[in-house]
Symmetry: C2
Subunit: 207 residues, 2 copies
Amino acid sequence: MTSVAHDQKLDSLLAVAARVFAERGYDSTSMRDLARASGVSLAGLYYYVQSKEELLFLIQSRNFEAVLEGMRDRLADATDPLEKLIRFIDNHLDYFASHMAEMKVLSHEAGALTGDYLTQVNTTKREYTRALMDILADVERTHGPAHVNRRVAAYSLFGMMNWIYNWYDPFGDVAVQALSQSVCRLFLGGYIGLPVSESALPRTTAG
Amino acid sequence: MTSVAHDQKLDSLLAVAARVFAERGYDSTSMRDLARASGVSLAGLYYYVQSKEELLFLIQSRNFEAVLEGMRDRLADATDPLEKLIRFIDNHLDYFASHMAEMKVLSHEAGALTGDYLTQVNTTKREYTRALMDILADVERTHGPAHVNRRVAAYSLFGMMNWIYNWYDPFGDVAVQALSQSVCRLFLGGYIGLPVSESALPRTTAG
DNA sequence: GTTCACCCTGAACGATCGTTCGAAGACGCC
DNA sequence: GGCGTCTTCGAACGATCGTTCAGGGTGAAC
């Protein structure tokens, strides 16, 4: 049925597709481009995938689920709402920086999916957004009233974090930890007027 | 040569194109789609425009120039660096909210241009980014050291502001002024730890 | 040695793409 | 009426798109 070799080949196809989609954009990437980039014949792609849109869907859903799962793991043993928020941001940027191509495709080609594909990804998106909103509500309970509307704050934070595919270079002179610290400081300082101390900021998370 | 009627027709074509590009995306919008949406024949479009890419270029460059010009106007009589920054944000969001389709095309289809078109828009983009960086440098001089790296802060602010095409509804329950105030509070609170007082925040700018 | 499921391919399908071309209305000016 | 310029159009061009299909290897199972 689903052999290991088959799954591995599909994974590598998804990796190639994510890279090309990120470079050229989903719509202007042809299946022939992907065939060339992956070394598989044009028809051979359709042995592993039903359609071009399924390729996009698999990239988006798998990586989004990974972000969601990573968040749940990191939040599992967090008690302080503020720490939860910091870990939420840290998880998001960590995954983003180590999967730039995939996350660019997830952020930038959100509107390219249709039908059930779109519905399913949107469900995950709603769940993820809800998780952040709940954390923000907790933060407000324990650290006084927020300075801005919660929904505006949530989407502003997503904007800060998801925009990085437009400028951030994970191999440049700003390390991921520094980026994460900066975003935490920026957001927390404005949201609840809290100067974030060094100790509270996220650090390198091994593994 | 360039009659008024001609220019007006081109303007309306650009408005239609911006709307459709924002809805369906540049790449998956066909010239036939634009012909249908504008009531002009397919061949008729090419009387006003040399190519599909020129349509995208005109939308991006004209609106970007408008944002740039609006910023220069609003900054002309500002002395305090903090006030400059607030006006910069206010101008950006004001224009964004009143030209959502055009600005979505500008933000989202930035990578769709090529050659000289791309070079020209990128020149404007660099100028605009430089303006913000200069303001931030001024703010740091007059309001103490920043809490985060200036370049990271600048792009985070652009992220907050440009991401709004993904969620913001200008006709919803969050007015543009409220949005602008929120972004100012969020950014300034985190950037220099300054709680922004009501009086310092932007208000409705008539005209 | 035959069978069979799995993996992959060249060639083609119909559809749609951006763009062009020659010509025909519209309209003021002589 | 005739002329020239500005607008607009139907029809077609070659290219490229996503997808399909019939078939050829391959290697383990019997």
